[in-house]
């Protein structure tokens, strides 16, 4: 939007300049714009297509093509116009190359002297004729429209039950786009209707992967369903891409894959606490958590295996897929997610193909995290604000403190989560940033640290700063 307005501002200035230098008679000049709309595949004219052109902030002009695909606009005042052409089953003129940046600009701007009218409508339409400078402008355009391709299909679960309101992503390999880990970019997202049917239209010719997301309606077997690639694969590598030609319509039905995983269970021991002694209601929630893979920026969301309440000191996570997990438990005063944290636990759990039973989780009273800030040479030791923040299904965790002049700090009130770290000078004129962070003997700078931390371990932070007057 910003770039666009700046762009317009420049062009509007050009127009003012042009009118001023070309004298009174040119200020009232008008333009005729005519053209033909043809099918980009076979060059045949498209009758009944419609065309719209207008200047920003002004009422647009409308036209339809005749039997020969011909349209005409008359009486346009000079200026910068955007032109949109559309016909049923065809991409709009500006959609043909890059669906994310609408173009279709047309400049009916005499730029001085006998220079021609210029046009650039996304390289799809080409201006073929230009007038002399002292007659009314008359431009002829040829606009080629590409028929779009469509993928439709039905997503079902076990027993043929339709998967309603499920997100279906249309993904492709695209050069120059921010691809996800598997090299694919999502070009379109649609949702299934209540019958599990979806329709993804306005696709360019190409190869596409169709992916049904495991998340969906509020009550499903979501723990069991896996995100499924057409026709029935867990990842792009084993999926079959759909080749689409211009104008082609293809059906791709997806049967959601199911994987059951194993059971992870055990007992949870609650310490005697002041809150319990005072007869307060206590609630415990547990989370089996797999942090996002290290080193991926931006970091994809963490994988949450499950989120449960233990019953009578027993807990069980079901349908857990193999992997390394962190088991987090949090007991709060009160029975909602806003109660004060009383005790917490954190434990690593490795899951393979077999059930894991007999885990013993011991809640311990929540404790503070202590640490020290070390300043890089040349940086004044100033009091820094140290912030740790994390979030997951157990809630948002945030601790903030001001380190003492000697660099010591204590973070309080954290709840179980993976936490990122930040430092900030209290004066806005000073820039300090974290260059290293260690907890015990582990590097936690990039991927953060898990709370609760083992007893006796402290955070060691190293910070650097902007050195004023030094080579800058």
């Amino acid at each position: 939007m910003h770039r666009f307005s700046r762009f317009f501002a420049v062009l509007l200035l050009l127009l003012v300049f042009a009118v001023r230098t070309r004298g009174q008679d040119q200020a009232a000049a008008t333009a005729t714009l005519e053209g033909a709309i043809v099918n980009d595949i076979d060059g045949s004219p498209i009758p009944g297509a419609r065309v719209k052109t207008g200047r920003q902030f002004a009422e647009p002009f409308y036209a339809r093509t005749d039997d020969k695909g011909h349209f005409v606009f008359t009486g346009l005042s000079l200026g910068v116009y955007r032109l949109v052409a559309e016909a049923p089953g065809f991409l709009r003129n500006y959609e043909a190359r890059d669906q994310r940046s609408p173009r279709g600009l047309l400049y009916l701007v005499p730029s001085g002297g006998d220079a021609p009218v210029t046009a650039d409508i996304d390289g799809v339409g080409t201006l073929t004729k230009s007038p002399g400078a002292h007659e009314a402008l008359h431009a002829t355009l040829a606009i080629r429209l590409t028929p779009y391709a469509v993928i439709t299909g039905k997503v079902t679960e076990a027993h043929g039950v339709p998967r309603a309101h499920c997100e279906v992503a249309i993904r492709a390999r695209q050069a120059g786009s921010a691809a996800e880990a598997d090299g694919l970019t999502t070009v379109k997202r649609v949702f299934t209707d209540d019958c599990g049917e979806y329709r993804a239209a306005r696709l360019l010719p190409g190869a596409y992967y169709v992916v049904a997301d495991k998340h969906g309606q509020w009550m499903t077997t979501r723990r069991v369903l896996r995100t499924t690639y057409y026709p029935s694969a867990l990842d792009a590598a084993s999926a079959r891409p759909i080749q689409l030609a211009a104008g082609q319509q293809v059906r791709a039905d997806i049967r959601m894959l199911v994987e059951r995983g194993v059971s992870v269970s055990g007992t949870i021991a609650t310490p005697a606490s002041d809150a319990a002694a005072a007869g307060q209601t206590l609630s415990t929630h547990m989370l089996l958590y797999q942090p996002a893979p290290a080193g991926k920026m931006p970091r994809p969301p963490a994988t949450v295996a499950d989120f449960i309440e233990p019953i009578d000191g027993r807990f069980e996570f079901r349908n857990v897929m193999p992997g390394e997990y962190t088991l987090m438990a949090l007991m709060r005063a009160g029975d909602d997610s806003k109660g004060t944290p009383v005790s917490a636990a954190l434990q690593r759990v490795a899951v393979d193909e077999d059930d894991v039973d007999g885990l013993q989780v011991a809640l311990e009273p929540v404790r503070d995290v202590t640490g020290t800030v070390t300043f890089a040479p040349g940086c004044a030791a100033v009091p820094l604000r140290v912030t740790a923040h994390g979030s997951n299904s157990l809630g948002v965790s945030r601790g903030e403190t001001i380190a003492s002049a000697s660099g010591d700090f204590v973070l309080s009130g954290l709840t179980p989560s993976r936490h990122g770290l930040e430092v900030q000078a209290q004066s806005p004129d000073l820039a300090y940033w974290l260059t290293a962070a260690r907890l015990g003997d582990r590097d936690v700078h990039r991927d953060g640290f898990d709370y609760p931390v083992p007893a006796g371990e402290t955070l060691q932070l190293t910070v650097d700063c902007t050195k004023t007057g030094a080579g800058r």
């Binding site: 009550m219 077997t221 989120f307």
Partner: protein, 311 residues
């Protein structure tokens, strides 16, 4: 089954008793297969979850700790009960649960050129506590103009179509303003639709162009209000229709005058923002059948939160 058995064997204080029941269609009385049955409140989310078999029958072994908890049932094609439907009987007697089949309204939308209206928000609205409120699923029409509103309870509805506006999709002609089936600006007794449970209703219609009215006024930038940051864009946003707006108009650099055309009746909020998107002026306007003139938007003026315009 295995995990649940573990849970039972692993803890001597727990026992399990099956809860059984049958699920029926409330209109036809036929058994409903493949419905999800969940014990709600026993644990978070879907911890105890089963599906009914082809005879509509289900059986769940429930630990004693979950006794007295509530049971929730859902199946595509039936209304989702947002409240649990029954309590677990303490004595283990079988449950009979009825599901109400959804009603569906579907069809296609076209404009006066016979072109499909794409990406329009289509909603079934009904009066609730004096306000028009959405029921069933909201849907956006596809490239063929097709729409489908599902999960509708029986009731009296108005079908409202709001063509796309703003950046969502290109606006072909702003005169296609939000309207009620079969092309009316107001919801009244003439266009109410009586929908029964399990009914499949097809409603295809052609949207009509409305000129609407023009809102005009002046954007005032007081001295010291950070004029360099002011974009001079004025946006209009409908309070009545979600995601529906008009503009931006560009206020004149010298006079501050702006004009926004083709505004249908209703309550509108005019805003202007600074570079970066922060709203710096706001004014609520009631739009009827006459043009609204003399709206004053003053940047940074807290009094600008009030109402203006003609009714």
């Amino acid at each position: 089954m295995k995990p649940l058995l573990l849970l039972i064997l692993g803890c001597a204080t727990l026992s399990a008793q099956p809860v059984e029941g049958c699920i029926f269609d409330s209109v036809t009385g036929a058994p409903v297969a493949g419905a999800y049955v969940a014990i709600h409140g026993a644990t978070f989310n879907d911890r105890i979850l089963r599906r009914s078999d082809t005879t509509g029958h289900f059986r769940i072994e429930v630990p004693d700790a979950a006794r007295g908890k509530l049971i929730a049932v859902s199946r595509p094609g039936y209304l989702i009960a947002h409240e649990p439907v029954a309590s677990l009987p303490a004595d283990g007697s079988p449950l009979r649960i009825e599901l109400t089949p959804e009603a569906v309204i579907s069809g296609t939308l076209e404009d006066e050129d016979g072109f499909a209206v794409e990406a329009a928000l289509v909603e079934a609205l009904h009066w609730e506590n004096g306000k028009l409120t959405r029921a069933g699923t909201a849907t956006r029409s596809n490239d063929l103009g097709g729409y489908r509103i599902a999960e509708l309870p029986a009731g009296r509805y108005y079908l409202r179509v709001a063509p796309p506006s703003g950046s969502l999709s290109p606006v072909w002609d702003r005169r296609y303003v939000p309207q009620f089936y079969p092309g009316l600006l107001e919801a009244n007794d003439d266009n109410v639709l009586g929908i029964e449970a399990d009914q499949q209703r097809t409603l295809s219609f052609r949207l009509r162009k409305y000129e609407g009215v023009t809102i005009s006024g002046q954007l005032i930038v007081p001295p010291g209000a950070g004029a360099a940051d002011v974009t001079r864009f004025v946006y209009a946003r409908s309070v009545d229709v979600p995601d529906f707006g008009a503009g931006p108009a560009l206020a004149d650099a010298k006079t501050g005058h702006f004009t926004i055309t083709h505004i249908p009746p209703g309550t509108w909020v005019l805003t202007s923002n600074a570079r970066g998107g922060r709203v710096v002026a706001r004014q609520t306007v009631q739009v009827g059948t006459a043009d609204v003139t003399g709206v004053v938007l003053t940047i940074g003026d807290p009094a600008n939160q009030g109402e203006a315009g003609q009714h």
